[in-house]
Structure formats: structure tokens, C-alpha cells
């Protein structure tokens, strides 16, 4: 019998001809990501020796900029660690800032066929790049960084074969909610995603699934490779890599089909996302107190553009608190006039945007303080319950303050085609955001430009209350002599 994707990469890493479910394997780790929560003073164990600092990435993202004294002390420990070992891939607060999973994607730190660990539980996100990535414990990260290896017990694999195209106003978050609702937890199981639907799914959309696989309690979550993925990597690095495909006769625990075309908007009701998904109609009319667009599962520009399709031109109801927290810096490779690739970075740097609970899961006691009711939804117009205690919405509110079906408010014919993995001029032109970025950026490299996501530059009073991303440009020379354009800014509302 052949091997699944996960088994194949693990076998390659161990140098064995075959690994099978139940095996304990010790494997070399290619990339070790330290996030700031590693360095919390009561948790941190000072490392004396680090043999491969080039394998290490350090990202300050959970408490950045630090909202309190302890956070600042934590960051100081991180900076001392970076200095001690001369770690180059360090993302401090600034233009290189972002949620670790997004930075891993944008800098192509996770190469196909490689192995990456990080102490953030949603590290499986990088599986979108045909990479074995997994959230591990804090001691695990220290061990992998200092010893260069780690252990895994190989789990069985469930393969999802996706076909069809997402209907209007339905997203990959709904695909996740469908899987979580229908099949429940995937404890001790790897998940593998493939199928003809990949041709219509951007990296961003796929990443929602790999990130949310943590909430299925899965071990590794990984996508088949394809041209869209290879394009993404190639646009960002010259490093060599090898893509892996599962064997045709791989031994799966189960192969399940998902028809994206048959999906509908879903809501995970409070306390759990496992076996708790209901059609949006079940929540219709539920009062929304607070709405949230963001997190490492749904905070990309593509998600914001999608949300903008709904809220565009509408005002946020006075009774609703709408919070938007982008997960980028997103590095968008663009071609300069002389044909060389340059990297443009979009950095969301709102004052409090990284100081949020990044809500992809819900558990009774999440806050440990009060009885909150969280509903997990896609980044569109859906809602929550205000019957008892405070309520939060993981999505975006819009007209009125109740839950509505996003299909009634979605104005485009489909998901906006941002093609963030495409870097050619043709695609840049197709998308207004990037056209403005590219053109205005060249015209006024040190100036500021305001754009409204998913719309034109014209700001009309009619649009008050809608989402706005403010961007400013800065060019700088790279050590290699090229010019890098950095795009900074924040996200807010038109007032």
C-alpha cells in the first residue's frame, strides 16, 4: 500500500522507505518559528546553545505592540534572544510585523516538502504550501530549535476531495463549518485536501481550511500542490523545493467528497465549533452586539474585500461594535519596470489590531470571566446571540444589528478576484486595489494614499461607516541594491 502526503514527507525526512500510522518517528525540522508568547518571563528558559539559528524565525505577534508592561518585558527577552544568536528572520513591531502564519506565507518560510513547527496552535496554516506544519508546545519549540529534530506519532489520514465552485457569498469558512459540523473532531488524524476545486481557490481561501483544521483537532493539515501554489512560492523565493503528491494507492482512513457548489452560509453556535454548525437561517434576526472581522483564519485582504462587498455603502448600526483586525503584513510581489520582482508589503498597523483575541474557536470559559456567546462565521454578514450576557460576532455586521443571510447583501457576482498569488501586471490591473497601490505608489513613493477596499478612491459622505484601509508608501534600498516598496497603514472606518 502507498503512502498519504503526510506519510510520504515524514518518510523522506526520516530516510525510511515507508512510515505507517502508529509509528513514532524522529525527524529533522527545517523551520522553527518562535512567537512572542514563547518569551513570557514565567515560561521562558534561556537557551545557551543554538546550532542552526538560520532555521529560526522570530515573530512578535500575539501582544504586539505590547499593551502592557509584561508584554514589553516579553518582547525584550525576544530581542535579546535574536541578538544573542544573530537571528536574521526577525519580525519586530514595524513594517515587517504581522501574524506569524501570514508572515510564513508571505515570506515563503514554509517550503513544499519541508517541516515547520511553532508554538501557535494554528501553525497547520502553512500546510497550504504542501508543507508539514504543526502547532506544538513551548518545550517542543525549544527542543526543535536546539536539537534540530522532533518526534511525531504518525496518525491516520482523512482525505477531502473538493469539487465544484463556491456559490455567491459562500466562503471556505463555510466549507470548514460544514466539515466540522458533519464529521466532528479529527483527533489524532491528519487531514489532506485536494481535488479539482483547487483550480478556483486562492491561497488565502485554502489557508482558511488549513488554519481551521486546528479546530478539528487534526494533527497535520496539508494541501496537494498545484500551479497556483508554486507560483506563490516562486514569486517570493529562489530556494529549491520539491512538491509531494499522495500515492494513488495510499491507505486513508477515509476519503470524503465535498461539493463546494452545494455549500451554504453556516454559523457555529456558542461553545464549540465541533458538531455545532447550523444554516445561517437558524440565527436569523439574532441581535448582534459586537462584530469582528479578522484573525489568522480570516484576516487577509481578500477577506476584507469580501466583507467590503457587504458593508459597502452601509453604516454600522450604533448598537454594534465592529472591530476589524487585518492579519497582514502581506507582501505582494510586483514587477518593476525593468522586469525584476520587487516586494511590496502591506502592513496593517492599527493601534490595537494585534491586541485582540484571535477568535477561531469558542469554548465555554474562553475569557474565563463571564458568559460570552461567540458565534464563529465567515467574514461576512452574520451574527450572534444577545439573550444572556455579552455577545460577539466573528464576522462583520452591517445594516441593522441582527443576523442576516449574507447572500441577500452580497453585491458582487462572486468572491472578488484578488488573485493575490498572481503577480503579473495583467492581474494587477484587473484588481482595483492593486492598481491603485501600484500606480499611486510609483507616483508618490513617499506620500500617502487612501483607498477603500473593493471600491474606488472617491470618498463620498454616503460611505460613512464603511471599512477603509489607509496606506502609506515608503521606498527603501535593499542591501542587495534593489528597491523595496513598503506599504504601511491601518484599517478603520470612514467618518
Amino acid at each position: 500500500m502507498g503512502m498519504t502526503l503526510t506519510e510520504k514527507i515524514l518518510a523522506r525526512k526520516t530516510g525510511q522507505a515507508k512510515v505507517s500510522p502508529g509509528d513514532l518517528v524522529t525527524v529533522d525540522v527545517d523551520t522553527v518559528v518562535f512567537v512572542d508568547t514563547m518569551f513570557v518571563p514565567t515560561r521562558w528558559r534561556k537557551i545557551k546553545r543554538l546550532d542552526h539559528p538560520e532555521r529560526v524565525v522570530v515573530v512578535l505577534d500575539h501582544r504586539a505592540p505590547s499593551p502592557d508592561r509584561q508584554g514589553a518585558a516579553t518582547h525584550q527577552i525576544a530581542r535579546a534572544f535574536v541578538e544573542q544568536f544573530g537571528i536574521e528572520r526577525f519580525h519586530d513591531i514595524g513594517y515587517d510585523q504581522g501574524i506569524s502564519h501570514q508572515l510564513v506565507a508571505d515570506h515563503a518560510y514554509a517550503l513544499p516538502g519541508s517541516l515547520l513547527v511553532c508554538s501557535d496552535s494554528h501553525t497547520g496554516s502553512a500546510g497550504v504550501f504542501n508543507c508539514l506544519a504543526r502547532g506544538v508546545g513551548v518545550p517542543d519549540v525549544v527542543y526543535a530549535a536546539t536539537q534540530g529534530e522532533t518526534w511525531f506519532i504518525v496518525g491516520e489520514t482523512i482525505r477531502y476531495v473538493m469539487s465544484g465552485r463556491l456559490p455567491r457569498a459562500v466562503t471556505m469558512k463555510d466549507a470548514f463549518l460544514q466539515i466540522a459540523g458533519q464529521y466532528g473532531d479529527h483527533t489524532n488524524t491528519n487531514v489532506e485536501y485536494g481535488g479539482p476545486a483547487l483550480a478556483h481557490l486562492s491561497i488565502s481561501a485554502r489557508k482558511t481550511l488549513t488554519t481551521m483544521s486546528t479546530e478539528l483537532s487534526a494533527d497535520f493539515s496539508i494541501f496537494d500542490p498545484d500551479e497556483i501554489m508554486v507560483d506563490w512560492i516562486r514569486a517570493r523565493t529562489n530556494a529549491e523545493f520539491e512538491c509531494f503528491h499522495p500515492d494513488a494507492d495510499a491507505g486513508y482512513r477515509e476519503v470524503r467528497k465535498v461539493d463546494l457548489g452545494a455549500l451554504q452560509p453556516l454559523v457555529a453556535f456558542p461553545d464549540s465549533v465541533i458538531e455545532n454548525s447550523k444554516p445561517v437561517a437558524a440565527a436569523a434576526g439574532t441581535r448582534i452586539d459586537q462584530a469582528f472581522i479578522g484573525s489568522c483564519a480570516n484576516g487577509t485582504l481578500e477577506d476584507l474585500a469580501l466583507a467590503a462587498q457587504v458593508v459597502r455603502g452601509r453604516r454600522v448600526d450604533k448598537r454594534v461594535r465592529l472591530i476589524v483586525t487585518p492579519r497582514f503584513a502581506e507582501r505582494i510581489p510586483c514587477r518593476s519596470r525593468d522586469g525584476h520582482h520587487q516586494h511590496t508589503r502591506k502592513c496593517g498597523r492599527g493601534r490595537d489590531q494585534f491586541d485582540v483575541r484571535r477568535l477561531r474557536r469558542d469554548a465555554h470559559g474562553n475569557t474565563g470571566r463571564e458568559r460570552d456567546l461567540h458565534h464563529v462565521v465567515d467574514p461576512q454578514l452574520q451574527g450572534t446571540d444577545g439573550r444572556s450576557g455579552r455577545a460577539h460576532l466573528h464576522g462583520v455586521s452591517g445594516h441593522g444589528c441582527g443576523v442576516r443571510d449574507p447572500r441577500r447583501h452580497h453585491r458582487s457576482a462572486g468572491i472578488p478576484e484578488l488573485n493575490m498569488n498572481r503577480h503579473d501586471a495583467k492581474n494587477a490591473k484587473r484588481n482595483k486595489i492593486y492598481r491603485h497601490d501600484a500606480e499611486k505608489g510609483r507616483e508618490m513613493p513617499d506620500g500617502a494614499v487612501r483607498i477603500q477596499i473593493g471600491s474606488s478612491l472617491r470618498l463620498s459622505p454616503r460611505l460613512r461607516g464603511s471599512i477603509c484601509v489607509c496606506l502609506s508608501w515608503r521606498s527603501r534600498r535593499t542591501p542587495q541594491g534593489g528597491i523595496e516598496k513598503n506599504l504601511g497603514g491601518g484599517c478603520g472606518f470612514l467618518t
Binding site: R49, S121, D140, T187, A363, H364, N366, T367
Partner: protein
């Protein structure tokens, strides 16, 4: 009580399916000391429980135990004095934390139905068996690979790295 060869015999506390790490370590407690964090375990779902736990007690849980964050939930359970956790299934990340913080954990199909809270369990990690001393039922658990048993007995990853001179010791416990 701690016997030799990874054998534990003690009173059982039962917990349901899908215990999330947020229940064990609430998210707002990140800067607290390990001991302070341990006192917050199950504050939301079972307030007062931490005061009832006696050293050596055994935790028995259902499916998907410890799903969620990479926070050191296993460290909290160990600090409360629990000797081990046996569950129908354990989240992969939680299981790693258990082993790495030297808190013995094992999966055992049928465990939830075989025990009532307050029963006494005899857990043998080397033999991979769990016996209910009241009912006499003995279940077979999923055996831990010898390498992981060694890691547990070595005191977890930090003890190992400390011994090798790779990390500095921490002032406080664990």
C-alpha cells in the same frame, strides 16, 4: 500514589468530551506564574474543583481531550497534583505537552464508560492497562512508545535539555 514503573492507583475525577485548553488555562492568565495558572483550572466549568483535588488523583476524560491552544495546560494539571490523565482520545498538541512536561497521559478506548467519578483506578503505563478496582474491569490502553516513556521518566524535555547544559534552569518550579 506514585508506585514504581509508572503505575498509579488513586481516586478518579471524570471530565466530559471535548475539554478545551481554555477551560484548563483561561486565556487571560498568560502572565501569571505556573502555580497561579494552575489554580484557575476549570474555573468556568467546575469552580472549586481545584480545592478538592488530592495529590496523586487521576483524571479520566472523554474524546478529544485538550483541544485548542499550545498553552501549558499539562503543566497546570501536573502542578495540581494529578498523577496522570487517561482519555478516550487526546488532542495531538495536548498529548505532546503532557509528555514534554512529564505529565503521564494515555488514550484508552472505553475509559469514559468504565468509570464513575470517585472510583479508584489502577493505571499501568508500562503494561498499558487501566483497571477499575471497584468493578474489576480492566481495559487495554494505547501503549506509549518506549522512547516517550523514557522522556516521561526523565522529567520531560526541559529536564533533559537542562541536564545537557542547553538551557538554563528556571527559578520557579517546572
Amino acid at each position: 500514589m506514585w508506585l514504581f514503573d509508572m503505575i498509579f492507583e488513586a481516586r478518579v475525577w471524570k471530565f466530559p468530551d471535548n475539554i478545551n485548553t481554555d477551560l484548563i488555562i483561561p486565556s487571560g492568565s498568560i502572565y501569571l506564574s505556573a502555580q497561579e495558572q494552575a489554580r484557575l483550572a476549570f474555573r468556568a466549568s467546575r469552580p472549586g474543583w481545584v480545592d478538592e483535588v488530592r495529590p496523586g488523583d487521576i483524571m479520566i476524560a472523554g474524546r478529544n481531550f485538550g483541544m485548542g491552544s499550545s498553552r501549558p495546560a499539562a503543566r497546570s494539571l501536573k502542578l495540581l497534583g494529578l498523577s496522570c490523565v487517561i482519555a478516550e482520545s487526546i488532542n495531538g498538541l495536548m498529548f505532546r505537552n503532557c509528555i514534554n512536561y512529564a505529565f503521564p497521559a494515555m488514550e484508552c478506548p472505553g475509559i469514559a464508560a468504565a468509570f464513575e467519578e470517585g472510583d479508584v483506578a489502577r493505571v499501568d503505563f508500562s503494561a498499558a492497562t487501566v483497571r477499575n478496582t471497584r468493578s474489576g474491569t480492566t481495559l487495554t490502553a494505547r501503549r506509549l512508545p518506549p522512547k516517550l516513556l523514557d522522556l516521561l521518566e526523565a522529567g520531560g524535555i526541559y529536564a533533559l535539555l537542562e541536564k545537557q547544559g542547553i538551557i538554563e534552569p528556571l527559578q520557579s518550579a517546572i
